[in-house]
Structures are given as structure tokens and as C-alpha cells.
Amino acid sequence: MDDPNCPVLAAAVAFRDDTGRVVTATALTDRLDREEAAIADRLERLVDCELLAPMEGGFRPTVTGREFLDLDVECGPLIVDVDYE
């Protein structure tokens, strides 16, 4: 995807699909030009939005996360509300 809605999530999905391994901040540093701590912070936020799910030693993309990347969104804001009724 050329212009993903969330590069960290896109990298997490690509990593998971390419390797089948658990996603970690360390594992994504090779794919993203940014600090590991910043990636770790973003991963936690993506869990709050249910776009990633925690699993032993890291994370995995959820169905919601994969659908999120397919949204055709030109620019922000992007607000994910898991409790909206």
C-alpha cells in the first residue's frame, strides 16, 4: 500500500504476513525509520483501538486492523471508537 492510514499498523500487518511471527517494536524498526520507543507507544495505542491484539511476547493484527488499512481516507482525523453505540 503506497499511502497507508497508519504506517505502523501497515508495517505490523506486512511483518505478520511475511514472517508469521509475533509483531514487536524491535521487529518493526527495520521496516520503519523511527525510534523503537515511538513504535512501541504506537503499538499500544493500536491495541486500545482494537486494531492490534496482544499475544504472547507481542501483538498480532486484528480483522478490524486489516479492514482499517483498506479505508479510503484522504487525511485525518481518524478516530476509532470501540464503544460507540
Binding site: N5, C6, P7, V8, L9, R42, R45, L46, D48, C49, E50, L51, A53, T62, V63, T64, E67, F68, L71, V73, E74, C75, G76, P77, L78, I79, V80, D81, V82, D83, Y84
Partner: protein
């Protein structure tokens, strides 16, 4: 940003009523009462009855230019918080309502309330994604910028048209009053008529 720090985005006052350098153009028909507002001064201007309309270069009435906050509230019923949410692009990727609330210093309930309103207004779009384990997750995102620009301008023109219709009604009521033989004063007749019209509409 505290209340005192907020800049007031207010349109400029046309100096001495001079409209020639404003980002809009007003045209009037030289034959009928038609007056047109245009945000895009196309070559050749506007026409009425197939004839070129005359551009109005000067306003005789003093106009108090509106502030952006007043326009949003009056035309769309949208308080500043609503616009703040539309403009809330913090870093990259998605935010939860709680993060938006913390960033903008509003209650989370306020954010949720305006998200619904912004979708109703057409300024945000809501998508529903499948949730693992059943149900859905709501994602609020911007509509296409060109679409937002067009729809907000049309929405505002609707509001401006309604406002113009009210002014026309006031002027026509005065004309009718002068032609008729009323015992009551004009202001009483006018407000009675407006109240009657509003009751009929609702």
C-alpha cells in the same frame, strides 16, 4: 489553547464599503431585483435575462463582518469544539475518543456527541469495521476535501438564502402595510406575521 489565547478569525471590514477587493463578488440585475453572490468571479461575470449583471462595487449599508466561530454556530449550529475535532490531526494514524479529548481538553462525552453531529452535517464520515468476536467498531474520518468544501459552501448558501428570504419578507410586509389600512403599528403587524409563518411551517 486557553480562551484568552484564541485568535478571532473574523472577516475584514470592507473599507468604506468598497467591495472591489473582496474574495467574493456581488452582482445585481439592471432590470429586475435579482442579486447574486459568487465566490468565483468567472470571466464574463453573471447573467440575468441573458444579459450581463452589474457588479456591485460598493455597499451602502455598514456590515459587521462575522467571526468564523459565529458563522459555524449560526449557520450550522456547530460550536468551536466541533471544528476542533474536524481539525484534530495529531501525528499519524488513528486516535481514540479519549486521546482526542485529552489533546483538545474536552470531555470524552463531548467528543462523542460532536462526532455524531459532524457525521449528520456531512463534515465527517463514519465507517463500521468488523470486530473480532462479533459486533462492529466505528471509525470517524474526513470526507473528501473537495466534497467538504463544496457541501459546506452550499450549506452556507442555504443559510444565507434563508436569511435573505427573511429580509425580503420584512421588506414586503412593510410594502403591504403601507398599501393597506391597518390599525396596528407596523412592528406589531410584522412580528405577528412572522410568528404566524413560523407556526405554519412547523
Amino acid at each position: 489553547m486557553s480562551e484568552g489565547d484564541e485568535r478571532e478569525f473574523r472577516a475584514e471590514t470592507p473599507s468604506d464599503g468598497d467591495l472591489s477587493d473582496r474574495p467574493y463578488a456581488i452582482y445585481q440585475c439592471t432590470d429586475c431585483q435579482n442579486v447574486v453572490l459568487s465566490m468565483q468571479d468567472c470571466e464574463g461575470g453573471m447573467t440575468c435575462h441573458g444579459e450581463a449583471m452589474e457588479r456591485v462595487d460598493e455597499a451602502k449599508m455598514d456590515v459587521e463582518p462575522p467571526a468564523l466561530r459565529e458563522v459555524l454556530l449560526d449557520a450550522f449550529g456547530l460550536p468551536k469544539a466541533g471544528l476542533d475535532i474536524c481539525l484534530c490531526v495529531i501525528g499519524e494514524g488513528p486516535l481514540s475518543p479519549g486521546e482526542v479529548a485529552a489533546e483538545l481538553e474536552y470531555d470524552e462525552s463531548t467528543i462523542r456527541s460532536y462526532l455524531t453531529e459532524l457525521v449528520d452535517l456531512g463534515l465527517l464520515e463514519k465507517s463500521q469495521l468488523n470486530r473480532e468476536g462479533g459486533g462492529t467498531v466505528s471509525v470517524f474520518h474526513s470526507v473528501d476535501l473537495e466534497e467538504m468544501r463544496r457541501e459546506s459552501l452550499i450549506g452556507f448558501y442555504v443559510w444565507a438564502g434563508e436569511a435573505a428570504a427573511l429580509l425580503e419578507e420584512a421588506n414586503l410586509t412593510k410594502a403591504e402595510y403601507l398599501d393597506a389600512d391597518h390599525d396596528e403599528r407596523l412592528d406589531a403587524v410584522f412580528w405577528e406575521q412572522v410568528a404566524g409563518d413560523r407556526t405554519t411551517e412547523s
